[in-house]
């Protein structure tokens, strides 16, 4: 367990320090959300209707943007090979790196969501649902994305390919996440959507480390 937390701590520290890019991802999230009112017009009624969808799509893009660094930097400087040779199983190393990725992108995005929601005129009553949905949904983005990141780790300019591979697989998280918020806004219970989102998270948690680790082993040969 201490090995696991050591990998998490190392990755979080790297992401937060200079050049780690964690702040840039948050800046990207805020700036892109700001672009939507400028693009579709300042009509608050329209913005409150599309607001939760905008937040989800932008959170998804922010996760994608930072995913290509998940293994790439370690691959380039060789530390990924050391991590693969370490006693900690590669599947758990992947899980640790995914957790660190989520702590530095998904979690801050979730915490920022109500603030950005206020700017998009989303009903404050929906904020708790929005945050719970994001708490359940953003780890799915990191987990599923880790397979794409592991597959494209040796490929030059793999970031764009990574987006192409992973984006279709993000559909369920996006749908359940947006539906939960919409249900709350319509006065219905968001529970079924949140439960499905949780199920999606559990499936991703159980399966993606195996896929990502297999892909990493392939690229480390």
């Amino acid at each position: 367990m201490s090995r696991f937390s050591a990998v998490v701590a190392r990755d979080v520290r790297l992401a937060l320090r200079q050049g780690g890019g964690s702040y840039w991802t948050l800046m990207f999230f805020i700036l892109t959300v700001t672009l939507f009112p400028l693009g579709v017009g300042p009509d608050l009624a329209l913005l409150s209707r599309i607001g939760s969808g905008v937040l989800w799509v932008v959170a998804l893009l922010a996760a994608l943007l930072s995913l290509d660094r998940l293994f790439q930097a370690d691959y380039e400087d060789g530390s990924l090979e050391l991590l693969a040779l370490a006693p900690l199983p590669l599947e758990l190393t992947v899980l640790a790196k995914v957790l660190a990725h989520w702590l530095t992108t998904g979690l801050p995005v979730t915490l920022l969501a109500p603030l950005m929601g206020a700017m998009l005129a989303i009903e404050p009553a929906a904020y708790p649902t929005l945050m719970v949905a994001m708490l359940l949904g953003t780890p799915v983005l990191s987990l599923v994305g880790s397979i794409g990141a592991a597959l494209t780790v040796g490929i030059r300019r793999g970031g764009v390919l990574l987006s192409l591979l992973v984006m279709p697989l993000y559909v369920p998280a996006l749908i359940f996440g947006a539906l939960a918020v919409e249900a709350t806004l319509e006065g219905l219970s968001p529970r079924p959507h949140l439960l499905l989102l949780g199920a999606d998270l559990l499936v991703a948690l159980a399966l993606t480390p195996w896929g990502a680790a297999a892909a990493l082993r392939l690229n480390l040969e």
Binding site: V144, L179, A214, L218
Partner: protein, 238 residues
Amino acid sequence: MANLHWLANPGRFLRISNAVVPYLAGLTVVLLAYGLWRGLTAPHDATQGAPATIMYMHVPSAIMSMTVYGGMAVASAVALIWKHPLADIAAKSSALIGAGFTATCLISGSMWGRPTWGTYWAWDARLTSELVLFFVYLGYIAIWQAIEDPQRAGRAAAILALAGSVNLPIIHYSVEWWNTLHQPAGLLQGKTDPVLAVPLLTLLAAFFCFYVTVLLLRMEREIVGRKIRQLRLLQAQA
């Protein structure tokens, strides 16, 4: 498994495939002609009229788009588990055909949707999941293109195909609950009148034969292509 390994010899595969392809191609033409003849001479749907005949292209290609992905996922699993040399060639050769079926399904569906639903495209569950399936096919093809070494590309693509096969049912049901306008499938539940079901099932068989024919041809091409690649590499090293 013994048979699988017996076929694993590419030379033997090429001989068998060469012998089988002409018959399969002939069978495809016969089934296609018979199915189209029965379908186009069948009475038109009472409410939808002539546009409903588009379903003779639409339904088989929709079923095939998913069947091919299923086959691709099984071939990928076989390639990963048993390192069967032909399995990843089969998976690779399937992808473009599957993408073609998916595109046919989407295009024919939108041609039918315009006169019947009044729109070329609706964000309906079936349409959306078919579109996502199309993107998954494109991603699979893209990763084959991105990695040069066929061995590594094959394993990477197999992992992706299996990840997709876990995700596609989830995508299917998530969009189903999200928004549904499309009529449910009724062909294989015995609810379709034989006048329509016979040509549909014949055309489904024709599409399947077409798939196997083109798959074998593409696999032959891929095997020969890899041999040429090997020879070129040896030549360059010499």
